[in-house]
């Protein structure tokens, strides 16, 4: 996979994961053009389209478009499964996920994706294992935050 984009029906970007090195300018251009192209698709059309020299696989879940760019030799149908698996993971983590969850917790969305795909390839095919890894990382984060805060803020109210 070369990149994955999540965007709303108004074309607002909610997540961008790039697995190829491109300048900020190029990324913006690609994003703009691709978002436009996908949003112009009618509901009855298939999930695949050819764009530049890439194959684009996209699927809409409620108000969010999940869009992946894959290479010529990649299997489109399994990419649909990849997208679906990611949505399932988000759903399990957030409990009936909606776009708002991804907006307000975008870092978590990235962390979850990074436990499922690595370098553009699938690294873990067990839903259970992915969620376990996130859970453990979250715990670790909480633990270290708690520790450092209790050290530096003894007596102080937590002030964020």
């Amino acid at each position: 996979m070369q990149f994955m984009l999540l965007f709303s029906r108004q074309g607002k970007l909610r997540l961008q994961k790039w697995y190829v090195p491109l300048s900020d300018k190029e990324k913006k251009k690609i994003t703009r053009e691709l978002v436009q192209t996908v949003l112009a698709r009618k509901p009855k059309m298939c999930s695949f389209l050819e764009w530049r020299d890439l194959k684009i696989v996209y699927k809409r879940y409620a108000s969010l478009y999940f869009c992946c760019a894959i290479e010529d030799q990649d299997n489109e149908l399994i990419t649909l499964e990849i997208i679906h698996r990611y949505v399932e993971l988000l759903d399990k983590y957030f409990g009936s996920v909606c776009e708002l969850d991804i907006i307000f917790n975008f870092e978590k969305a990235y962390f979850i994706l990074d436990e499922f795909l690595l370098g553009g390839e699938v690294q873990e095919t067990s839903k259970k294992n992915v969620l376990k890894a996130i859970e453990q990382a979250d715990l670790l984060q909480e633990k270290t935050e708690h520790v450092s805060h209790s050290k530096s803020f003894v007596g102080c109210k937590k002030a964020y």
Binding site: K12, L13, R14, L15, Q16, K17, W18, Y19, P21, L22, S23, K28, K44, M45, C46, S47, F48, L49, E50, Q73, N75, E76, L77, I78, L80, E81, I82, R85, I103, F104, F106, E107, Y110, F111, D114, E115, L118, G119, E121, V122, Q123, E124, T125, S126, K127, K128, N129, A133, Q136, A137, L140, Q141, K143, T144, E145, S148, H149, S152, A159, Y160
Partner: protein
């Protein structure tokens, strides 16, 4: 530490941005917050740095600049706190790609994090390395990653393997490091590690033939792994819709494809397994179909048994009937790739393919069109053309050009009768005239001209079509030409094959005038109409100018330019105009030509009074002196044949220019291989003058494809006996050929 009272929490910032009613308001909120973030980076509490960066990453996603956060990423990554590292590495992946100078600075932190003991931290480092690691970083850290391949924790191993994949992509020489561990890793039970290993092996094989050879030894092992996966019972953890770990299956199948390609033995080893997967995979949901699809791709790419190939094509045929249009899409795309190699197997699914023409989704109907055109052959051409015509009438405009030219091409290759061919072409011109290629007009006039028995039929049909619609330019042009040529047949009376049509001369002339004056008519179209009117005035009134406007003998087709030039050179020989020729004639030659082209002087006959014709401009042109009737045609001569390539010469002595001889050299190729880089040169005795015009092409396609033609103009002022030497150079069947020979048996009519 005192946090600025107006600095927002991440969630509050997001909320405020969303509540902004205009772009300007949003910008204001963000600029204000970025100022706080900058200040905080400068002298704020390091403990809160990760929150500030998180806010910055959010606004970056909205498209605002965030470069001042790059150094903060470095600091956070270097911090011992997991919270810091988590956000820091995320920031690095979003802000610090390999084009940034600061990028290399994270190498050291990554190195440290890879070798410390906390899995989650190692995971972050590996993730960042595999997403954005530059070639230099990969070289620096390769050995660290190699060590991690042997780590006890499967969590780390699976990430290390995929990081190795990235490293090889960036620095192919690193294959040397990562190839040896693969054998061991292939024994993994952990699906994630196994999947990563398969991916790694695939990458290695794609990059190096040596690696490919090495891993072919593992085909039996891979077959075993896949077979176990497929036959073992349902495992909730890795299954999707009853299919065991489809991600892993697909990856293994893909590797098998690469290993089995062009390798008899490996292909044989996997044949049974592929058949098993192809027949037993559940096809009710997408996961199963994804595996099936990959299986089909593999079967078609390796040396499979014939039966297996047919099975694969049939699976695709079933896909075409699937209610899920994504499945239909991949089926059409795959069948298109197979239509040449497995033509008869794909033919069996032709009816289903044709059904797909009716798809509302453009990308599907486009593929269905391409596939349908590829499936046309001599036995189904009538039925297929019918379907394609139907499609042409209703398809979206951007597909019309392809469809139209596809139909015309198919018609040319497989027309059962000339009449059918004319009808089909006519129908295409009527439906999609504006989208046909430029040579359609020339081709149709050629076709009609060559079918004498259909002249009457053609002119009637074209007249009727024209009477209905004068907007489709190619149709109008052909119709005008046809009426000009065969107008007499049109007015004659009835024709067997069409409905009785009584046409009066005035109607025909009025129609042509309408074409002339219509604002829709292109200049070229007007030219055709004008010429037609000229011809009619002669033909219908038995003028003595018959010879000038004689039906032009059929020119060998060789591309429109050759046609145009050949026709022009004949016509202009009598109209006192210099024809445009690509080779620059010398001044003296030019003078000669003009001398020769003076019509008979003195006894100019007075043209008889003309019937009133529309358009005063016509009268000038018709005041030309007439030329004597043309002599009998000179027989053609075959001058060369070798391995299916044949050269024919046809001769014309235009009346009125006794010293001019026009030779058309036609090259045809009935062999199985194309003739390319074909060049024909000619030489004549000193007293002659020779001009070679540009040939219609330098490739003579195989199997009786479109011949190439070239026109030679020879002036023989001394009326000496003609001698002609030809030199041919070309490539055929991988050999370069040169032939030099003198043409024997030139008919005396060519120079006497």
């Amino acid at each position: 530490m005192v946090a600025s009272s107006s600095s927002l929490k991440l969630q509050d910032l997001i909320q405020e941005i969303r509540e902004a009613k205009t772009q300007a308001q949003e910008r204001e909120v963000i600029q204000k917050e970025c100022a706080h973030i900058r200040a905080s980076f400068r002298d704020g509490d390091p403990l809160h740095r990760h929150r500030q960066l998180a806010k910055l990453l959010y606004v970056h996603m909205l498209g605002y600049p965030a470069h001042f956060g790059q150094m903060e990423c470095l600091k956070l990554i270097a911090s011992p706190r997991f919270t810091d590292k988590r956000v820091g590495y995320l920031g690095a992946m979003l802000l610090l790609d390999e084009r940034q100078d600061a990028h290399l600075l994270i190498t050291n932190s990554i190195k440290n994090d890879l070798s410390q003991g906390i899995q989650a931290v190692q995971g972050l480092a590996l993730c960042t390395l595999s997403a954005t690691g530059s070639a230099e970083m990969c070289r620096d850290l390769a050995t660290e990653v190699e060590k991690l391949l042997l780590q006890p924790s499967a969590y780390v191993r699976k990430k290390a393997v995929l990081t190795a994949v990235h490293m090889i992509r960036k620095v192919p020489e690193l294959s040397n490091i990562f190839l040896p561990p693969c054998a061991q890793l292939l024994h993994e039970h952990h699906h994630g590690v196994l999947l990563g290993t398969i991916t790694l092996i695939t990458e290695l094989c794609e990059r190096s033939p040596a690696a490919l050879k090495h891993f072919r030894k593992m085909v039996p092992q891979l077959v075993h792994i896949l077979r176990t996966l497929v036959t073992t019972g349902y495992s909730t953890e890795h299954s999707i819709s009853g299919v065991s770990d489809p991600f892993l299956q697909v990856q293994i199948l893909r590797l098998l494809r690469i290993l089995g390609r062009n390798h008899e033995e490996s292909s044989e080893t996997m044949n049974d397994l592929l058949a098993q997967v192809a027949t037993n995979t559940d096809t009710s949901r997408n996961a199963g179909n994804a595996v099936l699809f990959e299986t089909v791709l593999t079967i078609m790419d390796i040396h499979s048994a014939a039966g297996l190939r047919v099975l694969a094509v049939n699976i695709l045929g079933r896909f075409l009937l699937n209610s899920d249009r994504n499945i239909r899409y991949v089926a059409l795309t795959s069948l298109l790739r197979l239509v040449q190699s497995d033509h008869s197997a794909v033919q069996r699914h032709r009816p289903t393919v044709v059904e797909c023409l009716r798809e509302p989704d453009d990308s599907l109907s486009r593929r269905a069109l391409e596939l349908s055109l590829a499936l046309v052959n001599s036995s189904n051409v009538r039925a297929m053309t019918q379907e394609l015509q139907g499609f042409l009438e209703s398809c979206p405009p951007d597909l019309q050009a392809d469809c139209a030219s596809g139909i015309l091409l198919a018609a040319e290759r497989f027309a059962p009768t000339k009449r059918w061919h004319i009808d089909t072409t006519l129908r295409v011109l009527m439906t999609a005239g504006t989208h046909v290629r430029d040579d359609a007009v020339a081709n149709l006039t050629q076709l009609i001209g060559g079918a004498q028995e259909l002249h009457a039929y053609s002119v009637r049909r074209l007249y009727s079509a024209l009477a209905e619609d004068i907007s489709q330019q190619p149709l109008v042009q052909v119709a005008a030409w046809c009426i000009g040529e065969y107008g007499d047949l049109l007015l004659e009376g009835s024709c067997e094959e069409t409905e009785p049509l009584q046409v009066e001369e005035e109607e025909v002339l009025a129609l042509l005038e309408r074409v002339l004056q219509s604002h829709m008519s292109l200049p070229a179209t007007r030219g055709y109409a004008l010429t037609a009117l000229m011809k009619l005035s002669t033909r219908l009134h038995g003028d003595n100018k018959a010879a000038i406007l004689e039906k032009i003998p059929l020119v060998e087709r060789g591309g429109s330019q050759a046609d145009e030039e050949a026709k022009e050179s004949k016509e202009t020989a009598q109209l006192s105009e210099a024809a445009p020729v690509p080779t620059e004639p010398q001044a003296s030659e030019l003078l000669d030509l003009l001398d020769l082209l003076d019509g008979p002087s003195g006894d100019a006959q007075h043209p008889p009074p003309l019937d009133p014709t529309p358009g005063g401009a016509l009268i000038h042109l018709l005041n030309l002196p007439c030329a004597p009737p043309p002599p009998a045609p000179i027989p053609n001569l075959k001058v060369f044949e070798r391995e299916g390539l044949q050269l024919n010469l046809s001769f014309v002595r235009p009346p009125g220019t006794p010293t001019l001889l026009l030779i058309t050299v036609t090259a045809t190729n009935t062999s199985g291989g194309d003739v390319t880089h074909f060049i024909c040169q000619a030489a004549v005795p000193k007293s002659f003058q020779l001009q070679l015009q540009a040939p219609s092409g330098d490739t003579v396609p195989a199997q009786g494809g479109l011949p190439t033609t070239q026109l030679l103009r020879i002036l023989n002022p001394k009326k000496a006996p003609l001698r002609l030497k030809l030199r041919l150079t070309y490539n055929h069947f991988g050999q370069s050929v040169q032939e030099i020979f003198e043409v024997n048996n030139l008919p005396v009519e060519t120079w006497q």
